[in-house]
């Protein structure tokens, strides 16, 4: 493991933009881990929610973008409802996703591949929310 040179100016503009969209103040986070402990999707995440906040705090946006976490987040709001600092992590995750998918060619679902993925048991709500989450 190489020693990472501390630099809080890493991709500052992008991070500030994402934080501005989310409206959350990540300086409030005391890294207690309540969000990660409460997250029902945490078992599929490579980086835990509280670690995502820490990466934001130190400016390591690269790791955030490359994580599976931001896509596995189910937006269930459990983290934010239990956070003792009142940080809405769900909003932050959505802000990251939004800044990714709204670039040209970054949509995660191709509508042509959709018919073979859906079946009779899938409620329509799933299709609508999947499009909202993964596409611009």
């Amino acid at each position: 493991m190489i020693r990472v040179k501390m630099s809080t100016n890493n991709r500052k503009k992008e991070i500030d933009r994402v934080l501005g969209i989310s409206g959350e103040n990540i300086k409030l986070c005391m890294q207690c881990g309540k969000c990660s402990a409460s997250c029902p999707s945490s078992s599929n995440m490579d980086i835990l929610p509280h670690q995502i906040i820490r990466l934001f705090q130190v400016g390591n946006y690269e790791k955030v973008l490359n994580s599976q976490t931001i896509w596995n987040c189910a937006s269930c709001f459990t983290c934010g409802s239990r956070c003792p600092r009142n940080i809405d992590i769900t909003k932050l995750m959505e802000a990251v996703r939004v800044t990714v998918v709204r670039n040209k060619g970054e949509s995660r679902i191709n509508i042509k591949e959709l018919p073979e993925k859906i079946n009779d048991k899938m409620p329509h709500q799933v299709i609508v929310s999947a499009f909202r989450k993964y596409n611009k």
Binding site: G33, K34, S36, A37, L48, P84, R85
Partner: protein, 661 residues
């Protein structure tokens, strides 16, 4: 002809950095009545004060204006200095050109103009200042301590040892407070009752201490040195002088449906009860809500078996009115309610308990005789999980923003007590931070980790839920970066401390303030931690903020020393800037008596000569000791008969005229 001296202070660069002090002094020299106008860097320093005193003597000044910091800082300093050279202290006027000028403005030209205006107003007022003589108040040599926990007991012992009479008033049937419920105390692991009960007995046997248990403060009036307190002694239904403390009544009482407050609801108590065996006084109390005799008229077994004939069902609440010189508030704390923290399953599952309930479980005098047993099935737990910071350090509406201070230490204590008695039990502690700042505190907590092998996990718990006989604790290890799960048998929550629910109400009775968390506010957090803004009322213990036993005892002795300083005086000097009634002008409408927030104005009948005849006239009268000089009455008075010494209507108008120059 007035001879006014003006002293403009630089206050280092605090004032001189923004205000041109030399310009202010120059302009002041031109003001009417001013014979001396000078400036100096630090007027409050010894050199500054000597400058001040010498100028008064040499220039024969009869009024002085000090243009400097807020009068709250140094009005008293300059008044004392003036008095030392023979000038009446109330002929000193302060112009605040720091907090009201240099500290709030950036524009130097405008700030200087404002400073000059403020000095002009002060000079105009000083011209009209009159010599005032402060009155004297006598002091009642008796102290009242509200709250009979360790803080109240310690304070009372100190004041009593100094030779003054002390009354302790305690709401519950016995003194002792939270410390009586605790098993062992950190960091020494002394048995709590063993160190507390000697002090409780000392208090009960001390010739200068009177203890009123099962009593509450009903009303407080008066002022420092002369408080008048009405105490409501609730009816115990037992005659204290006759009761021998044998306990047969408690044994035979058939009503056992009420949850014991002392045992934190883990077991029930009888309707007639003493809270714990070492209770002081060792006289039981009948809980009339639970007593069968009081509810249905049938029973009365306790009376039949009492050989001392001490039971009295007709006993009534009694009121005592007593005068006190000082009051010390030591009402303590409680643990927060957990109804907004549903994720921990407290109240749903009996094996999720609070730290105070745990104290009762480990206590040899507790509901399980000191054996660690699960409340659900009374079996020994194999895995115990402690969760710290439940409700503390929480910015949301659910919890308290502050750190409760004692939990990191008592959780380590609980963990070690388990490991000492039952080395095979697995103990885990979930924490956010470990706070152990006291003497030998860090070494204490590290012993839990290094010697006893307690598993400290840096991370919080998301949810606790029952799974068959077990409790699943769903948490996270933030240092490793993994979510974890423990199948616990017992979960102990370190619940946030909170101020007592009736603290605000008591504060209103005493006219002392509480902060946003309902803890009583001290006069200055650093320099006056045991005094309040109300003279003669002091604070001790956790009612002022979360704290542990060593700090509580230290603060209790500190409050006692402040009280003793006051009680040792033969008289107190009161503030002479009080309202005064011109009886010739007073029309007797008594509107002022209605508006006074301190109930300082009353009425009296005087005899005057009118048109050659003696007639009776109703006029207002001000109690100088109660009057705080707020001036509300002077505004209300229609004929302008009531005026404020030191801040008369003429003086205020002179200031306004000077400002509107």
């Amino acid at each position: 002809m007035a001879r006014i001296g003006v002293f403009v202070c630089w206050c280092g660069s605090n004032i001189a950095g923004i205000v041109d002090v030399k310009e202010v002094a120059k302009e002041a020299a031109k003001m009417p009545g001013v014979v001396l106008s000078t400036d100096y860097q630090y007027m409050c320093s010894e050199i500054g004060q000597n400058l001040f005193k010498n100028a008064i003597k040499e220039q024969k000044l009869d009024r002085v204006v000090v243009a400097a910091c807020s009068p709250r800082m140094h009005e008293a300093t300059f008044r004392k200095a003036a008095e030392s050279v023979g000038l009446n202290p109330y002929l000193v006027e302060i112009a605040n050109i720091r907090e009201h000028c240099s500290w709030v403005h950036k524009n130097k030209v405008e700030a200087t103009e404002k400073a000059i205006a403020l000095v002009r107003a002060a000079v105009a007022k000083a011209t009209l200042n009159q010599e005032l003589i402060a009155g004297e108040i006598g002091i009642e040599k008796r102290a009242l301590v509200i709250g009979g926990g360790i803080a109240g007991i310690q304070t009372a012992l100190d004041i009593a040892d100094a030779g003054y009479t002390v009354d302790i008033i305690e709401k519950t049937p016995s003194i002792g407070g939270k410390m009586a419920q605790i098993d062992k105390t950190f960091p020494t692991l002394d048995c709590s009752a063993c160190i507390l009960t000697p002090k409780m007995v000392d208090a009960s046997m001390h010739p200068n201490i009177n203890i009123h248990t099962y009593s509450e403060v009903e009303k407080v009036s008066g002022y420092v040195g002369n408080f008048e307190v009405t105490i409501n002694k609730k009816a115990r239904s037992v005659i204290m002088e006759k009761c021998s403390g044998c306990g047969v009544c408690i044994e035979k009482c058939p009503s056992k449906k009420t949850k014991s407050e002392f045992e934190e609801g883990l077991i029930n108590r009888k309707a007639i009860y003493t809270p714990f065996p070492q209770a002081v006084p060792n006289v039981p109390v009948i809980d009339r809500e639970a007593c069968i005799k009081f509810k249905t008229g049938k029973c009365g077994i306790c009376k039949k078996v009492c050989t001392a004939e001490a039971i009295d069902f007709e006993q009534e609440n009694t009121k005592i009115v007593q005068k006190y010189g000082v009051i010390i508030v030591s009402t303590g704390y409680d643990l927060m309610d957990l109804d907004r923290f549903g994720e921990y399953a407290y109240g749903e599952d009996p094996d999720v308990i609070t730290s105070l309930e745990f104290e009762r479980l480990t206590n040899a005098a507790g509901p399980t005789s000191g054996k660690l047993l699960r409340p659900s099935n009374h079996k020994k737990p194999e895995k115990v999980v402690f969760i710290q910071c439940v409700g503390s350090r929480d910015n949301t509406c659910r919890g308290k923003t502050y750190c409760s201070k004692i939990c990191c230490m008592y959780t380590a204590k609980h963990a070690m007590l388990i490991k000492e008695k039952y080395p095979d039990i697995e103990v885990h502690v979930f924490y956010i931070d470990i706070r152990t700042p006291g003497k030998n505190f860090d070494e204490f907590q590290r012993r839990a980790v290094e010697y006893y092998g307690v598993n400290y996990i840096k991370g919080m718990v998301g949810k606790v839920f029952p799974d068959g006989e077990k409790l699943i604790v769903s948490g996270v290890d933030t240092l490793i970066g993994e979510t974890i799960e423990i199948d616990a048998d017992l979960v102990v929550l370190a619940v946030a401390t909170k101020a007592k629910d009736d603290a605000e109400e008591l504060g209103r009775k005493l006219s002392i303030s509480t902060d946003t968390n309902n803890f009583f506010t001290e006069a200055h957090p650093k320099l006056r931690p045991v005094e309040t803004h109300s003279a003669g009322i002091y604070l001790a213990g956790a009612c002022q903020g979360p704290k542990d036993i060593p700090e509580t005892v230290a603060q209790a002795s500190a409050a006692a020393s402040k009280a003793i300083i006051l009680l040792s005086k033969s008289k107190l000097v009161n503030n002479p800037c009080v309202a005064e009634v011109d009886e010739a002008l007073c029309c007797g409408c008594l509107e002022c008596t209605n508006i006074c927030p301190y109930e300082a104005i009353s009425s009296k009948t005087i005899e005057i000569r009118e048109h050659g005849k003696i007639v009776k006239k109703l006029v207002s009268e001000v109690n100088e000791a109660l009057c705080q000089g707020c001036g509300g009455c002077t505004v209300t008075c229609r004929p302008s008969a009531i005026d404020l010494n030191g801040f008369s209507n003429k003086q205020i108008l002179a200031e306004v005229d000077a400002l509107c120059f």
